[in-house]
Each structure stands twice: as structure tokens, then as C-alpha cells.
């Protein structure tokens, strides 16, 4: 069968400030047959999104087509008139964007946006559009489609927005779908549901799909063939099974090794270095600088894409050696906590965002809304790492904010060492401030873009240790060294650093204070997997050498597993389960923990997630009973709504809060 999407020898680039043309895509061929699903993977900057958009004849502002063609269903997309492109885009060839929250027009109601897609691309008479919109919304399994029609995008959750985007893409009954990181930024449970939906839709309608993602777990779930991209070129292409299980390119191996695995508590292995900037790849192999198997030949000659034994293609001189290397790389065991004094104690913490209304304030009345976070009592030992997991809205970050003194608790106390901490940061003394440091998710937001690395690191050093002059500079350099950045980074600005380097600077800033407790709020979520592995490794090293206590918040369970000694599972701001990492991941678990674990996608074509609970969004925690009552797949009955579940302990140190007896919890 002839290819539906046929991209031939395409090169895309931009003219740099020096006047040189820099290539973002280099001579890429990609053919997708009808009904086939191809995954495009690679680190950020590898050109995967650019390639997918090029299939629609679209290039981002500043980019130019240098060579080649993109043919869709016999039509060369770069040679079409605007009118013709408008007919095809959103019709036969539709896109599901990365960030639906940003991709839906904020001032138009959902119904209007879907109606527009129908008006442009559907043969239906106009009076049937309204009904079709509702049907489409129902088809992507949105609850209550009639109500969603009248909503604005911001009134929907991330998962719902993504479903709307899918419905919109389906409106034109496309023959091919381009998916640009469609589940990035969603909760694991939501992601798993969306992927199942996409699989079903693709199977039902026989659509071709191009699935762009950095998440090999998602790729493994939906794609039959995978194309691995690096620095704007294809380095490996083959069936999903071959690429993920027997990768013959060192880059693909490195990428796979850097992914933390749910069933393995070893640390992932970082892929050192970073890809060359567009146009800087040089004459040889673009991956040469980061490759363990590199030879002189790799630096002088660019390897060609050649057919591999498994039926795919690969761009490497040493595929045999690479094949032998696969599976040989084993991650280091993480530093584990072996018991010690209590470092941080949370006692009956409750936090509420609800502010009393003006009238209630005047009358001195409180709110009757249940607090966002309630009844959190955890004590963490010195040198221990506690992982906090849960979906978005589960109160993970809220708890960190309260510990850091940024948000006052409604009840309860925070004790660090033997001192009870004042609620708010402005009432804490310098010693207490130094003791607790916070690292944020996004270093782009947490580092002042006008401060050099030296400025950033010197602030805590001056503030807490009164260092000045040469000592200050020397100490800053020493700290940078510890996060594996050299002293030559001191005079750089954040904009001159890569994402991983920025996050290391943010970590260095936290450690410059010599803290006993470090609060990590999704510190690796904004990073590429390869970089994430390096950051995890660094955090682990610092833990070993400094004996730091961490609270590690993440929605990625595999990351939590790699780093944590103990894990606490939160739902709607209430603790569901807490225990040693292995106990939580392997022993009896709370139904919610099971739901979370079941939804995790492994980079393995043979693994399938189990979707036990609906991914509905809860607005507020229930007033009584178990917080998980509305979604629990194993709901017992009324008791779950009325009575707060008891703590049960299957093993020492492992606690589950559920009405179901321990024996029954084990049975699925």
C-alpha cells in the first residue's frame, strides 16, 4: 500500500544571527501507511515536533524549508495554496496539540470551537452540527457533553481539555492524526485513559497516526513503529518491540537506560552531555560526543542510515558493538536510609485555601468548606527521603509550601529537629530558614534571569554564613563543583544554560545554605529523561554525602521509587497509605495506590496499564468518610461515605487507611 504521509529528504532550518543557515531537520524520510501508528521520539530540540508539523506543510515562524517535500495523500503540502491547505488541515489531516489548555481559544466556548471544525470540514448540514458536537464530546468520553458545550476552555481540567482537542481533531473525520506530545503534563491516570481512547479510536477508524513524544512508555502503548531522532536526524527506526527491547543505536540505549523503571529500584543512568545546537553537529556523527563507543571514524565521517537486521534502519558504524552493550548497563543502587533521629515532624497538619467571605469575615465566621489538606501526621528521620505521590490537586505541593512557611496551616504544627517552627517564613529566625530549602519544578521561573550563577549562589552564602570577597567566590565555585558544574559557570546567566544545568544551579542554591531538609517540588518534571536521570543521580549523591533529609514530590511513580526510602500516597489532601518504598510498591496497597500504579506506562510493548478508576476531576474533598469514596473501584458501601477509614498495618512501618480488611485488600 502506498504511504499516506510521505516525507522525503526534508531539511528545515533557520538563518542564525551570524548569517549561517542552521538545520533543524536534516534530510529526513518518513513514510506512514494508512492505519499505521508511528512514534517519533527524542530529547527536546531533536526536531520531532518540527517534523510532525512539517507533515502538515507548516513551519514555525523563522523556519524555512531548505530541501525535500512533504506529501500527504498525493498532495505536496509545501506547494499548496492557502485555501487548499485550509481544506486539508483539520480535515483529512488533523493535529492534536501538546498543550490543549493553551491551544483552545480562551474566549470561545467549547461548542463554538468544535462547531467551527464541523463547519469547515464536515459535510453535515448545519442544523445537525449541534447534535454532532455533543456526539463527538461523548465519543471522547467526556461526562455530561451537553454541559461542556457551553463551557469555556479554562473551566475544564487538563484531561478534559485534551479530550476536547481530540474531539476537535475527529470532527473532520481525518485519515491521519498528528499527535504532538498529547499527554505530556497530564496525570498518570489521565494519561493512561487518553492513550486507551486514542488506541480505540485509531483501531475503530483505521486512522494513521504520527505520535510525537519524549515518553517511551506512551510510545510503547500506542505505536507499532518507532523513529528515534537526534539533533535533527533519524538515528534509529524499527518496530516498537525492536527499538525498545533491542536497540542497536547507542543513543536509543542511553535514552532507555535513563528512564526510571517502576519495577526496579535502581537509579536510572544519566546520558551525559547534551545534543549539539542546530548547525553545530560537525562532519561526523552528531552523537559522537556523548557516545561510549566512539572511535576516530565517528568524528570524521557521518554514518548513513542503513538497513538493520531487524528490518528497520540505523545510523551507526558500530551497531554490533551497540547490540552487545545493550542490557550491560546497570544503574547504581540508591543511597538508603538506615534509621536515625526524627528530623522533621508534621503533626496533624491541615491547610485550607478557602478564605472566608467578606461578610463572614466581618461576623467572625469561618468557612464550612473542608480543608484542602487535612490530618497529615508524618515524621521523617534524619537522612531519610520521603516521596509524596498523588494526582494533581492532591495537595503535595501545598504541604511543601506549608513546611517552607509560605502558607499558614489551619491546624497542626511543623517541628524541625527539636524546634517547633513558626508558621510563616517571616517569623522564622535565620537558623530555621537555613535549615529548610525548597527546590522548584521549573528553574526558568525560580532563577532570576538577570542574576548570574554567582549572584544566585552568593545570596544564601552571604545571608547565612556572612561570607565575603574571595572566600565567597571560592565557596560558590566549590558548591558548583558539587553539582558537577565547573567554576567557569559562575559568570553565566540562566539563559546561557540548558534546562538540566539550570536545575542543577537551583539545587546548588538550595545546598549552598547547608540545609538539613530539602523540599523537592517536581524537580525533574520539566526536564528531558536523560537530564532527569542526571539530576536524580546528583540528588542521590548529595543525600549520601550530606545526610540530607528530602521530601520528594512527584507525579512520576518510577522517579519516586528510585529515590525514596518511604512513600506517602495522598488523595485530595488526605493520606491514604504510607510505608517503606518497597512495601508501598509491592505489598498490599490502598485501592488508590493500585489505581496509580496500574496507570503507569512502562517503555515495554508488552506491558499494559490497568485502568481501575475513572479519571474524573474532584472539585473539593468530601466532607466525611474516605477521601477516595467517589472514584474507588472497590467501594464497600455507605460506610465509605460516612466513616473515616481506620489505619491498618500489614507490616511494621506500613499503614493503609481503608475500610477493606487487609486480607481482602490483597485480592484483586
Amino acid at each position: 500500500m502506498s504511504a499516506l504521509i510521505d516525507i522525503r529528504d526534508i531539511s528545515v532550518g533557520f538563518v542564525g544571527r551570524d548569517g549561517r543557515t542552521r538545520e533543524v531537520l536534516r534530510n529526513i524520510d518518513l513514510a506512514v501507511a494508512p492505519g499505521e501508528c508511528v512514534g517519533l521520539v527524542g530529547e527536546s530540540g531533536s526536531g520531532k515536533s518540527t517534523l510532525a508539523l512539517a507533515a502538515m506543510g507548516y513551519l514555525k515562524r523563522g523556519l524555512r524549508l531548505l530541501n525535500g517535500s512533504a506529501v500527504f495523500s498525493g498532495t505536496d503540502m509545501f506547494a499548496q495554496s492557502r485555501r487548499e491547505l485550509e481544506r486539508i488541515r483539520g480535515g483529512q489531516l488533523a493535529l492534536i496539540p501538546q498543550n490543549s489548555g493553551q491551544s483552545l481559544t480562551p474566549t470561545l466556548r467549547i461548542g463554538a470551537q468544535l462547531g467551527e471544525a464541523l463547519r469547515l470540514h464536515s459535510a453535515l448540514p448545519a442544523d445537525q452540527h449541534a447534535a454532532k458536537v455533543v456526539e463527538l464530546l461523548g465519543h471522547v468520553r467526556l461526562p455530561d457533553p451537553e454541559a461542556i458545550v457551553a463551557r469555556f476552555p479554562h473551566e475544564l481540567s487538563g484531561g478534559q481539555q485534551q479530550r476536547v482537542a481530540i474531539a476537535m481533531a475527529l470532527a473532520g473525520e481525518p485519515e491521519a492524526l498528528l499527535l504532538d506530545e498529547p499527554t505530556t503534563g497530564l496525570d498518570v491516570t489521565t494519561q493512561a485513559h487518553i492513550l486507551e481512547l486514542l488506541r480505540d479510536i485509531a483501531a475503530d477508524r483505521g486512522m494513521a497516526m504520527v505520535y510525537v513524544s519524549h515518553d517511551l512508555g506512551a510510545i510503547a502503548r500506542v505505536c507499532t513503529r518507532v523513529v528515534v531522532m537526534y539533533a535533527g536526524e533519524v538515528v534509529l527506526e524499527g518496530s516498537t518491540r525492536h527499538v525498545l527491547k533491542f536497540p542497536t543505536h547507542p543513543y536509543a540505549q542511553g535514552l532507555l537506560a535513563s528512564i526510571p523503571k517502576l519495577d526496579d529500584s535502581a537509579l536510572p543512568i544519566a546520558l551525559d552531555g547534551r545534543p549539539p545546537a542546530p548547525g553545530d553537529a560537525g562532519a561526523g556523527c552528531a552523537f559522537a560526543d556523548r557516545c561510549a563507543l566512539v572511535q576516530d571514524r565517528c568524528r570524521s565521517t557521518r554514518p548513513q542510515l542503513e538497513a538493520s537486521e531487524s528490518g528497520g534502519t540505523v545510523r551507526c558504524f558500530f551497531t554490533k558493538e551497540a547490540g552487545r552493550q545493550q542490557g550491560q548497563i546497570i544503574g547504581a543502587a540508591p543511597a538508603r536510609f538506615s534509621g536515625g533521629d526524627t528530623m522533621l515532624d508534621l503533626d496533624g497538619l491541615a491547610i485550607s485555601y478557602a478564605r472566608p467571605r467578606l461578610l463572614d469575615q466581618l461576623l467572625g465566621r469561618g468557612t464550612d468548606v473542608p480543608p484542602t489538606v487535612d490530618d497529615i501526621s508524618i515524621s521523617i528521620g534524619k537522612g531519610e527521603t520521603l516521596g509524596l505521590v498523588g494526582e494533581s490537586g492532591s495537595g503535595k505541593s501545598t504541604i511543601l509550601k506549608t513546611i517552607a512557611g509560605l502558607l499558614p496551616p489551619a491546624a497542626g504544627a511543623v517541628t524541625a529537629g527539636d524546634q517547633s517552627l513558626p508558621h510563616m517564613v517571616e517569623h522564622r529566625d535565620p537558623g530555621q530558614l537555613r535549615q529548610i530549602q525548597l527546590i522548584f519544578q521549573n528553574p526558568d521561573d525560580s532563577l532570576n534571569p538577570r542574576h548570574t550563577v554567582a549572584d544566585i549562589l552568593e545570596q544564601p552564602l552571604k545571608l547565612y554564613f556572612g561570607l565575603t570577597g574571595g572566600k565567597l567566590r571560592a565557596r560558590s565555585a566549590e558548591i558548583l563543583e558539587r553539582v558537577r558544574l565547573g567554576a567557569h559557570y559562575l559568570d553565566r546567566l540562566p539563559s546561557q544554560l540548558s534546562g538540566g544545568e539550570k536545575q542543577r544551579v537551583a539545587i546548588a542554591r538550595a545546598f549552598a545554605a547547608g540545609p538539613e531538609i530539602v523540599l523537592c517540588d517536581e524537580v525533574t518534571s520539566a526536564l528531558d529523561v536523560s537530564v532527569q536521570a542526571a539530576v536524580l543521580d546528583l540528588l542521590n549523591d548529595l543525600k549520601r554525602s550530606q545526610g540530607t533529609t528530602y521530601i520528594f514530590v512527584s507525579h512520576d511513580l518510577a522517579v519516586v521509587r528510585a529515590l525514596s526510602d518511604r512513600v506517602a500516597v495522598l488523595y485530595q489532601g488526605r493520606l491514604c497509605e504510607i510505608g517503606q518504598t518497597d512495601q508501598v510498591f509491592e505489598g498490599e496497597s490502598h485501592p488508590y495506590t493500585k489505581v496509580l500504579l496500574g496507570a503507569v506506562l512502562e517503555p515495554d510493548p508488552d506491558a499494559a496499564p490497568t485502568l481501575a478508576a475513572d479519571d474524573i476531576v474532584e472539585r473539593a474533598p468530601p466532607a466525611s468518610g474516605c477521601p477516595f469514596q467517589r472514584r474507588c473501584p472497590r467501594r464497600l458501601g455507605e460506610i465509605c461515605d460516612t466513616d473515616t477509614p481506620p489505619w491498618q498495618s500489614p507490616e511494621a512501618g506500613h499503614f493503609i487507611r481503608c475500610h477493606i480488611s487487609l486480607e481482602d485488600l490483597n485480592v484483586d
Binding site: 507548516y58 492557502r82 481544506r87 488541515r89 483539520g90 493553551q102 483552545l104 474566549t107 470561545l108
Partner: protein
């Protein structure tokens, strides 16, 4: 939410009124010393103060003044002994006429040009209008006013260069004398709004939802009018409000240059005459208009922006 904003607006005006009153109060001299000038001494001054009620405590006088102001009665001016409300009424109307004319021409023009330059970014149209706008913004009004008078009334003789109509004349008599002042005011205002709309359009057109609309196959002009402009023009509302507030100040210079009988010129005259009751009245009116305009802009944004709207409704 709405009540809260109105309440806060009222509080702001109230605080401003106290500041105005206190400011005038701490100045040396009072309405009587100003009015009597060199004769302001002994019995004469006593009598005048008695008649004006200036011997009472400041709080009492503030209460009188403020409660009068609420009813639209600002008392009598110090020198002419005329009702300030009457004096100010016509002047306020004239200034509003000037502002409304400038807005009626300037705002649509600015939005139109802002959208055009934003869409045709870095094309000749954009370069011409953007640089003209910067030019119009940087020249002080009195310079542009003088140049326009020179060109259009002295050299070409097309338009009167100065306003000779009296303050109380019917509106129709201000034409065509008002044309040049309107152009000068409109120029600067148009430039500000144009720059703002332009950058907002550029930002929105580069946004993800516009890219999505392109890739959904939406025709270009649909993208512009349905997807981009409703979002791009929201911030313009606040800029227009700020510009109106600026008009009230900018109008002073223009009115003096063109001898236009508006509030601004009256203010200048009152200050040089040390006619404190009039100064107070004008300051309070200007402050109220300022607060009112910004409040209106905030409320408009709130009801045109779905995000703020749901927030506001939920909050109330």
C-alpha cells in the same frame, strides 16, 4: 465582586478628597487672604473669614465641603463669589467634548492601525505607522500643537488656530475651532493605543491557539476576527482607560495653547488666582473621573474575559 469594586472606588475618591482638602489646608493663606490680597488684614479679613465660615474647625469645613460636593454643590468661588458648580459645569462639558471627539476618532483609528501593523509585522505598513506612532508619542503636545497651528492656520489658513468661543456657548459653536485641539490630543492618544494593540496582536498571533486554528484549517480572516482579536483587544480596554485619564491631564496644556475654555485652563487660572475652592473642586472632579474610568475599564474587562467573568461570578 461588583459591589466590592464600587465600594473600593468610592473609598478611593473619599481618600482623595481628604488629601485634596488637607493639601489646600496646609498651604499658607486661605480663600480670604487670596481674595483680599493686600487688604487682607485686621477687621476686613476677620469679616471675610466669618462670612466664608473659615473660622470653624477643619473637620467641620471638610464635612460641609464634602457633603456639598456629593450633591454637586462645590460652594462659591473666592473671587467672583459665583457658584462653582455653574462655573465648572460649562467647562467640564467643554473638556468632555474635546475628550470625546478625540476618543471617537482616536480609539477606532488606533485599534484599526494597531491590528493592521500587528498582522503585517515588519512589513512596510508596520514600519511606517509604528515609527510615526513613536514620533507622535515623543513630541510634547505643545510643540505639535504649535506646529499644527503654524501649518494649518497661519500658512494654509484652513482652520482657526485659537478658540474664541466663550465657555457657555452651545456646542455647535465650537466647530471648527475644536478641530486642531482634537487632532493634537488624538495624535498622542492614538500612538499609545496603537503601540499597545500592535504588541498585543503580535503576541496573540504567535500564540498556541492561533497556531492550532491555522492547523485546524481555519481561514485567515476567521482566525483574526474570531480567535485572535477578542483576546488581543482585552488589554486595550485598560490602555484606553489610562489614556482617558491621561487626557484629563494632557488637556491642560492643549487648552492653554489653544485658549480652549475647558476645565484644564480653568484650573490653571484658578491656581494663579489662588482661588482655592475652585482648585479643590476641579481636583476632586478629575480624581472622580479617573477612578470612574478605570473602574469601568476593569468591569468591562471582567465581563468580556471569560476567565475573569467566571471568577467574578463565583466570588460573589
Amino acid at each position: 465582586m461588583l459591589m466590592r469594586r464600587l465600594f473600593l472606588g468610592a473609598i478611593t475618591v473619599w481618600i482623595v478628597s481628604i488629601i485634596i482638602f488637607a493639601g489646600v489646608e496646609v498651604l499658607p493663606g486661605d480663600a480670604c487672604t487670596a481674595f483680599l490680597e493686600r487688604e487682607a488684614q485686621g477687621k476686613l479679613l476677620e469679616n471675610c473669614r466669618e462670612a466664608q465660615g473659615l473660622n470653624r474647625s477643619a473637620a467641620e469645613r471638610y464635612f460641609d465641603w464634602a457633603s456639598g460636593a456629593v450633591r454637586g454643590d462645590f460652594g462659591v468661588s473666592a473671587n467672583g463669589q459665583k457658584s462653582i458648580s455653574e462655573l465648572v459645569g460649562n467647562r467640564l462639558r467643554n473638556s468632555l467634548l474635546l475628550a470625546v471627539c478625540a476618543l471617537a476618532i482616536g480609539v477606532p483609528l488606533a485599534i484599526f492601525l494597531g491590528v493592521v501593523t500587528g498582522l503585517r509585522r515588519e512589513k512596510p505598513v508596520d514600519l511606517v505607522f509604528s515609527s510615526t506612532a513613536v514620533f507622535a508619542m515623543t513630541i510634547p503636545e505643545f510643540v505639535s500643537a504649535t506646529v499644527l497651528i503654524l501649518v494649518f492656520s497661519v500658512w494654509l489658513g484652513w482652520l482657526p488656530g485659537i478658540v474664541l468661543t466663550s465657555a457657555g456657548a452651545p456646542i455647535s459653536e465650537f466647530f471648527p475651532e475644536i478641530v486642531l485641539p482634537v487632532i493634537v490630543l488624538g495624535m498622542v492618544m492614538t500612538a499609545h493605543i496603537l503601540r499597545m494593540v500592535r504588541s498585543s496582536v503580535i503576541e496573540v498571533m504567535a500564540g498556541e491557539y492561533v497556531q492550532m486554528a491555522i492547523l485546524k484549517g481555519v481561514p485567515y480572516w476567521h482566525i483574526v476576527f474570531r480567535h485572535a482579536l477578542p483576546n488581543a483587544l482585552l488589554p486595550a480596554i485598560n490602555v484606553v482607560a489610562l489614556t482617558i485619564a491621561w487626557l484629563l491631564g494632557g488637556v491642560v496644556v492643549i487648552e492653554v495653547v489653544f485658549n480652549y475654555p475647558g476645565l484644564g485652563r480653568m484650573m490653571i487660572d484658578a491656581i494663579s488666582d489662588r482661588d482655592l475652592p475652585v482648585v479643590q473642586a476641579i481636583a476632586l472632579i478629575v480624581a472622580t473621573v479617573y477612578v470612574g474610568v478605570n473602574l469601568t475599564a476593569d468591569l468591562m474587562t471582567m465581563f468580556l474575559n471569560p476567565r475573569l467573568r467566571t471568577h467574578a461570578l463565583r466570588g460573589s
